[in-house]
């Protein structure tokens, strides 16, 4: 029997799945990797620990599930989170930890660029919002703040590049991850000269650019032996997690919005055209040479509901947050849509799309004497999803969205899924049982092995059931309150700035 392995290098964990050739899951395991915050704005991960964790998890899945059942691994396909930077010296050894997407140290570099003519030019060329998350800003930060280190850097890699290099010896970066660096011209698919100049690097200091279906060299002998894999196991470079989720939900063309609600969240659409937005509100990442995944990210997804649960939930057993959240959702379900006029702005972590305001903060608005705890629970969830709706609404200025798919650990909670359908007034399709990101990797592998002629054909094989149809009454209610939410989110800008300044002191 033959199988395909997918490896997702995510923010908190490495997730490894094994699929049979029909796309059924044979097994899956995960391994946690910590994020370090040595300074308030810093978010770093240890790439060697990520590598060791990946080996450990992969090896366990092979030894516990695949080898005993005599599966032959035909292909291993990768995906990873975006925007990471790993500086390596001339021997290829990391110079410190990887800087992850959540790191904000390059705030100043990003802000200065954003408000300049050069910034506008770079955004139009690269499609990556000018934000401290982008490797462009991060590398510029190292150049400006760690001059000695910068001189010693031989290459700037992504986390996935480093992991693939450890396994195969090759330095590669796929179009998808590269398109999220702020360094790639997404129209020409070449490194953007203006970006390289701003970051102070040359193309030789970056990995080789390759399409997402590229087979990367060969697995090093030592890993063939220790993992029990054959030399002809294909290693596929794969894409970013965001682009994989889109593919995994079967979307490679216009008309569908893809909503992800994990700790953070995003609304995405796919097109063969770049989405030009004068306000620089959206990202445009490459899935393939001619498919753009455009959309907006939010910082304040499920992590905000987790925050609420920890503060106000009734924990029956220590650390049993899952159960406590379900109890709260049960409370929330008894309150009518619109929470009887209680609104919540979920900006506890500042916000990216669509307001792009790092100083934004959380607000409960409209409280009256009749509101009870359950109203706060419901308003909190509604606020998180109004925010996703606001991203979707701005995307609809450029693209029509007829239906939605949803994925992510929070998005797939039935209460969340239904609320999204009601707010957007569109049917929502949903992949049950497994992760859209890994299924996207499976589809890419299946295409690469000739089971499908094209990615479109592979994506078309995905049939997701409509799991939530919109409730018109609820939709009416949400549309009454949403304009107030939208106005508040920008109206309070100067108060957000003042309170954020005081909180920084």
């Amino acid at each position: 029997m033959e199988c395909i392995i997918t490896i997702e290098l995510g923010t908190n964990a490495v997730r490894v799945y094994a699929f049979d050739l029909n796309g059924n899951i044979i097994g899956s395991l995960k391994g946690y990797c910590p994020t370090f915050h040595s300074e308030p704005d810093y978010s770093e991960q240890d790439v060697d620990q990520i590598f060791i964790t990946m080996l450990y998890v992969l090896k366990n899945l092979l030894n516990e599930v695949l080898h005993p059942k005599k599966y032959k691994v035909l292909c291993i396909c990768f995906s990873s989170s975006m925007h990471s930077v790993v500086a390596v010296d001339k021997r290829g050894n990391p110079m410190g930890h990887a800087i992850t997407w959540a790191d904000n140290r390059a705030n100043k570099e990003a802000a200065e660029l954003k408000h300049s003519a050069l910034g506008k030019k770079i955004y139009n060329a690269t499609g990556t919002p000018l934000h401290p998350m982008s490797p462009l800003a991060k590398i510029a930060w190292i150049k400006n703040n760690e001059k000695e280190k910068f001189k010693q850097v031989s290459k700037f890699l992504s986390i996935k590049t480093y992991i693939l290099q450890q396994l195969t010896g090759e330095y590669v970066i796929d179009y998808s991850i590269a398109s999220a660096t702020g360094l790639l011209n997404i129209h020409k698919i070449k490194w953007e000269t203006e970006s390289l100049k701003f970051a102070g690097v040359t193309a030789a200091m970056l990995p080789e650019l390759v399409p997402i279906d590229t087979k990367v060299g060969k697995l090093n002998k030592a890993y063939q032996t220790s993992l029990g894999l054959s030399a002809d196991t294909k290693i596929l470079v794969g894409s970013s997690d965001g682009c994989m989720a889109v593919l995994g939900d079967g979307v490679t063309g216009e008309g569908t919005g893809i909503i992800t609600v994990e700790d953070s969240g995003a609304v995405r659409v796919v097109s063969d055209k770049v989405m030009q937005d004068d306000n620089q509100r959206f990202f445009n990442y490459l899935l393939t040479e001619n498919k753009y995944v455009s959309g907006g990210p939010t910082n304040n997804g499920g992590v905000i509901f987790e925050w609420f649960t920890r503060q106000f939930g009734d924990f029956k057993n220590p650390f049993d947050i899952e159960h406590t959240m379900l109890e709260l959702i049960n409370d929330a379900s008894k309150v009518p849509a619109g929470s009887d006029g209680l609104l919540f702005l979920p900006y506890l972590l500042g916000e990216r799309a669509p307001i792009w305001n790092a100083n934004a903060r959380g607000v409960y608005f409209g409280m009256n004497i009749k509101h009870e705890k359950a109203h706060f629970v419901r308003a909190t969830i509604e606020g998180i999803l109004y925010e996703l709706y606001s991203i979707g609404k701005t995307l609809e200025e450029h693209r029509s969205i007829n239906s939605l798919t949803i994925n992510g650990s929070f998005g797939t909670l039935p209460f969340f899924t239904q609320m999204v359908a009601d707010m957007f007034n569109k049917p929502v399709r949903l992949r049950e049982n497994y992760h859209s990101v890994s299924y996207g990797s499976y589809l890419l592998s299946a295409k690469e092995m000739g089971m499908y002629q094209s990615l479109d054909e592979a994506a078309n094989s995905v049939v997701l059931p409509d799991l939530a149809t919109p409730d018109k009454q609820n939709n009416k209610m949400y549309l009454k309150y949403y304009p107030i939410f939208e106005r508040l989110s920008t109206k309070l800008a100067s108060e957000f700035a003042d309170i954020a300044a005081l909180q920084h002191d």
Partner: protein, 295 residues
């Protein structure tokens, strides 16, 4: 409780308990100047407030204590009222003789039935840098009362009971401290704290019991939570950190393999080598050669 003081130098009741330096109860109805000066001693002190309000200074930081509160003063920490005043109210206390080993950990004496591992875990909890006050911890008052009763009645089994009760103080106080710092809501945060502690003491031979005690969970629930959160068993997670740190050290040319092995908590360079090769496919020296060149 009525007022009394037993001191190990004079009280016959403490003949069998040389490790109880002092135990007592005071009921004070008028402010006494110079009644409670700061002192620094080599014993561990525990105070339990029964009535009144007390402004005390522990290790040069001021604290206000109310009925039901417990103050824990580690050996060598200064303790008393800043103005030497004994305020109005009543409290009970016990001073217990503890030793410190070469790693500066607290060790109970032969009288205690705590195992070495338990003692180590408790010492870690008590010595962690935190506010030395347990609010509304009335269990401590109950235990002190039981010790007092045992000492004065001297019934059969008194020696065993008193020693058990002192162990009980150590156990309950450290459990309460961990409960306070881990209210059982935020596992990611708790796990991060544990991970930092493991990294800071990587060469220590951690047991699951010690890790669970640090987090304030029983070992069964601890194993389950760590597994579901991290995908690793606690000991495998520890090995994962050890190997990751070893990888970094292997890229530094001048550290010997034995030093790396011991620094990262392996028993020997052999143990290190086997574990490393099993996971990475390379022996540490092959790995080092690949990353440093042949020199």
């Amino acid at each position: 409780m009525n007022q009394f003081v037993l001191s190990h130098t004079t009280a016959s009741e403490l003949r069998l308990f040389p490790h109880i330096v002092e135990i007592g109860v005071v009921k004070n109805s008028a402010i006494r100047l110079n009644g409670f000066p700061s002192t620094t001693d080599r014993c561990l002190k525990l105070y339990y407030i029964q009535e009144g309000k007390f402004e005390w200074s522990i290790n040069e930081r001021p604290y206000t204590l109310y009925p039901g509160d417990v103050a824990l003063i580690l050996p060598g920490n200064e303790f008393g009222n800043r103005n030497n005043v004994l305020e109005i109210g009543s409290f009970a206390w016990i001073h217990i003789q503890v030793n410190k080993n070469e790693k500066n950990e607290l060790v109970t004496g032969a009288w205690s039935s705590l195992s070495e591992a338990e003692c180590h875990a408790i010492s870690k909890v008590l010595q962690a840098d935190r506010i030395p006050i347990l609010q509304k911890f009335t269990e401590a008052g109950t235990i002190l009362k039981s010790i007092q009763t045992e000492l004065f009645t001297q019934e059969i089994g008194c020696q065993a009971r008193v020693n058990h009760l002192i162990d009980e103080i150590f156990i309950q106080v450290s459990r309460q401290f961990t409960r306070m710092s881990n209210p059982g809501r935020d596992f990611p945060k708790t796990f991060t704290k544990l991970e930092q502690e493991l990294r800071n003491n990587l060469s220590h031979q951690w047991t699951v019991e010690e890790m669970a005690a640090f987090v304030g969970l029983g070992t069964t629930l601890f194993n389950e939570k760590v597994k579901s959160y991290s995908g690793f068993s606690p000991l495998n997670y520890l090995i994962n950190i050890r190997i990751s740190e070893a990888i970094k050290l292997l890229k530094v040319p001048d550290i010997s393999l034995t030093d790396i092995a011991l620094d990262t908590g392996f028993y020997s360079s052999q143990h290190f080598s086997t574990t490393f090769k099993k996971l990475t496919g390379y022996t540490p020296s092959e790995f080092r050669k690949n990353h440093l060149g042949t020199n």
